[in-house]
């Protein structure tokens, strides 16, 4: 009898350990960003603001991650002495090769998210959804769920979503919860077009 209980408990412990410790580690594929980029250096030394690089076009659309043209405007030649900048210029600016940035916050194909209506009309701060990305010294590795194909940032960092902060996830539930809290309208056709 006691042996049976031990067997059951052992199975349970193995599953719990696997589910809570191993599963989150094996769930995501990890890839490095193409360039060792520091938001912090650009914000503090160059005095750049988010919208200087992540800008809105005249027609209201959001430009997203800046293209090489934007970077080349300042980094046509080296501005500092870091190895990261030298590598960036040698590998991308000089051969005019676009870096293949990996977007942490890319929404699925069936979602239409308007930055302009959130940032300009809703006065939502960038940090509200993206966290303190603008203050980090290096880009974190990009983690992707190979089954769904989505970035880990969409689901949120904790695999169980327990204790998720406001800016922790970008799932539909997170959008809807925020709109509910703000007393704003939300409907299917608002995002899915």
């Amino acid at each position: 009898m006691i042996r049976g209980k031990i067997a059951f408990a052992s199975g349970m412990l193995v599953a719990l350990a696997g589910g809570w410790l191993a599963f989150p580690r094996i769930l995501y594929q990890t890839r490095l960003q193409p360039v060792d980029f520091s938001h912090k250096v650009h914000a503090e030394k160059a005095g750049a603001k988010c919208e200087d690089c992540h800008s809105f076009r005249d027609d209201g659309t959001y430009a997203g991650i800046p293209t090489l043209d934007k970077c080349s405007g300042c980094h046509a030649a080296a501005m500092g002495t870091t190895a990261a900048e030298k590598t960036f210029i040698d590998q991308y600016v000089t051969p005019n090769r676009e870096p293949q940035w990996l977007s942490y916050a890319r929404q699925p194909e069936n979602v239409y998210f308007s930055h302009v209506s959130h940032v300009k009309l809703g006065q939502v701060k960038c940090e509200r959804c993206h966290g303190n990305e603008g203050g980090t010294g290096a880009l974190r590795p990009y983690q992707q769920d190979p089954i769904s194909g989505y970035s880990r940032d969409i689901w949120g960092r904790p695999v169980n979503r327990i204790g998720l902060r406001t800016e922790g996830g970008m799932k539909m539930d997170d959008c809807v919860n925020c709109h509910r809290r703000q007393g704003l309208e939300y409907s299917c056709m608002g995002c899915h077009k």
């Binding site: 042996r3 049976g4 209980k5 067997a7 059951f8 408990a9 052992s10 199975g11 349970m12 412990l13 193995v14 599953a15 719990l16 696997g18 589910g19 809570w20 599963f23 989150p24 769930l27 076009r57 005249d58 027609d59 209201g60 659309t61 959001y62 997203g64 699925p108 194909e109 069936n110 239409y112 769920d145 089954i147 769904s148 194909g149 989505y150 695999v159 169980n160 056709m189 077009k193």
Partner: protein, 594 residues
């Protein structure tokens, strides 16, 4: 300690129970659900730069301004343009799903172009004296319509035919009362944004046998006996007594009196389901001409275009005389029943249809040539029935044609030997030359007088983000609206009035529209008819039973639905070209057991 099979099962059971207490199974279920949305074969737009582009919708004459969200140049979603003074940012379900049409599985993808060119050239060369070459333009009022007219003027015995185009526009903003004889005012009539912007300022009286969506949303709905509309109109015009009208139409005397009083109170407008209906003559009785019913205004033309063939309706063509008939069905528009066209054709006539669908005239033509669909072709859109101002707007293409297409305008111009050129540009230059009106830019909502921009900038703005409007002209009374409304419909041996259950624009429709509106609201099956319980009982028809829909033009096997919401004397049918061909001009039918 030995491992028994029982303990092994307990270990597995414990593992299963433990797994349920971890996020793993729940997360895998979610991921599997998402994965199922990303299977290979599911189309997805390319990743790339996201830009907004502007165009105009050509799916109906409203020509609403459209803002397209494009990824890598590919439109992925369409929306209205708020600064547009006529559309007010509204876009109907057809317009919202318009960018799917180039990829529609039912689209005509190829056609015998060379054979058609040779056959037309041969037929023109060999035609006998008095035999005609004709173009049937289902969407008159466009710049390409003028190309057709010029081409038909250049060809001996050329005919330019249309399904009929009203010579008037309706100024809803100036109306305080709208008396509608079955016009689907709130369900696809005119420019949706303009109608709903004006809706708060007028009282809507809807007169029709069936409670359509417009009837349900009207301030007053008069369920009239089918086919008796002209009697009620005669009473409103004072040509018969109210008591007589009430007796014939089944509408209460008080209601007829109330409508008459409202219509005579000034600033009223009468609308009819068919814009060419004699019912429109009531507007003359009520003093609406020049006030709410005004002469249709067309934007300026190059002087060289003035030598053009006159506009004629199919009925005016001589019988058996058309040797070559070219039908432009590239855009959804009017429809002339085949029973009206067929007698006009010569025995050895060549019929060529430019179309994206095989449902319309393609069923009757020898040559069906694939035409571009919205938003593949550069087109302009003529003024809608509720557009009072002069307007010129271009539907700039958002995608290159995804199949090899034949542009009907170029085909006809080449056939007639017209000089090569860009008619849209020529017309834009002619408009700019007048110095009238203003250029509205959708990107910033600014309006600039046309005389303050260069011809090149004028053309560029029209193609990229704007339209030209001139609202300064004086309202004039339209011609052609007679003064008698007493044209009673004969009922002969076909006892049922045919009512089209839905507003059908014709042409292709995106299958994804059902995400926006209920499927049943959009599409009634083509082989369904709806009858009142009394009519069904009288003919021994059961719900779901097979029966025959018979008209003066033919018969069709259909399935009956019995609905108490349909009044006796009416048969509701689905819209579309097949039903239009079957019903012909009379719109009377009977339903019998198969």
């Amino acid at each position: 300690m030995t491992t028994t099979r029982r303990n092994l099962f307990k270990f597995v059971g414990g593992g299963a129970a433990g797994a349920l207490l971890t996020p793993a199974p729940w997360r895998l279920i979610t991921d599997a659900a998402l994965w199922s949305e990303n299977w290979p074969g599911i189309p997805r737009p390319a990743r790339g730069e996201i830009r907004a582009r502007f165009t105009h919708c050509t799916l109906c004459p409203a020509g609403c301004a459209v803002r397209a969200r494009c990824v890598n140049g590919q439109p992925v979603s369409l929306a209205g343009v708020k600064p547009h003074p006529i559309g007010h940012g509204a876009l109907c379900p057809w317009g919202i799903a318009g960018h799917h049409l180039p990829y529609h599985p039912a689209r005509v993808r190829q056609g015998p172009v060379k054979e058609a060119v040779a056959a037309v050239a041969r037929a023109i060369a060999q035609r006998g004296a008095g035999e005609r070459v004709a173009v049937l333009d289902l969407r008159p009022g466009r710049t390409v319509s003028w190309t057709y007219r010029r081409a038909m003027a250049a060809i001996e015995n050329g005919l330019y035919l249309t399904p009929g185009q009203p010579a008037y526009s309706i100024d809803l903003a100036a109306a305080k009362t709208v008396v509608s004889f079955g016009a689907p005012l709130l369900d696809g009539w005119g420019t949706p944004g303009n109608v709903f912007a004006a809706r708060d300022h007028f009282r809507l009286i809807q007169i029709e046998p069936v409670e359509t969506r417009t009837a349900a949303l009207a301030d007053m709905w008069l369920p009239i006996r089918p086919g008796t509309e002209s009697v009620l109109a005669a009473a409103l015009a004072g040509e018969t007594t109210i008591a007589e009208a009430a007796r014939v139409t089944g509408v209460e005397e008080e209601a007829v009196g109330a409508v008459q009083e409202a219509a005579q109170s000034g600033s009223a407008v009468v609308l009819a389901a068919d814009p060419g209906s004699p019912l429109m003559s009531l507007n003359a009785k009520f003093g609406a001409l020049g006030r709410t019913v005004v002469a249709r205004r067309e934007s300026p033309l190059p002087d060289a275009w003035k030598k053009a063939a006159p506009v004629a309706e199919m009925a005016a063509a001589p019988d058996g005389a058309i040797r070559v008939l070219l039908i432009d069905e590239s855009l959804p528009g009017g429809y002339v029943p085949w029973s009206t066209i067929e007698p006009k054709l010569a025995a050895n006539a060549i019929v060529v249809v430019f179309s994206s669908t095989s449902e319309g005239y393609a069923r009757h033509a020898q040559y069906v040539l694939p035409a571009p669909v919205y938003p593949e072709a550069a087109e302009d859109i003529g003024p809608a029935i509720d557009t009072v101002a002069e307007v010129f707007r271009i539907a700039a293409p958002l995608v290159a044609p995804v199949v090899p297409v034949v542009k009907p305008g170029e085909f006809v111009a080449q056939m007639a030997g017209l000089p090569q050129g860009d008619p849209l540009r020529e017309r834009a230059d002619a408009i700019h030359k007048t110095g009238r009106g203003a250029l509205l830019s959708y990107a910033d909502g600014k309006s600039t007088p046309a005389k303050e921009v260069t011809a090149d900038d004028f053309w560029k703005t029209l193609n990229q983000s704007g339209c030209w409007m001139d609202e300064t002209g004086k309202k004039a009374a339209p011609s052609g609206l007679g003064r008698s409304v007493t044209r009673l419909t004969s009922h002969d041996e076909l006892p049922l009035a045919v009512v089209v259950a839905e507003f059908n624009r014709g042409g292709l429709a995106s299958p994804l529209m059902s995400k926006l509106e209920r499927e049943s609201n959009l599409r009634m099956a083509a082989n369904r008819v709806v009858l009142s319980p009394a009519d069904a009982r009288a003919n021994g028809i059961e719900s779901g039973g097979r029966c025959l829909l018979e008209t003066a033009c033919g018969r069709m096997n259909v399935v009956a639905t019995i609905d108490a919401g349909v009044p006796s004397g009416v048969v509701e049918v689905a819209g579309g070209p097949r039903m239009a061909d079957l019903c012909g001009a009379s719109r009377r039918a009977r339903v019998v057991r198969a």
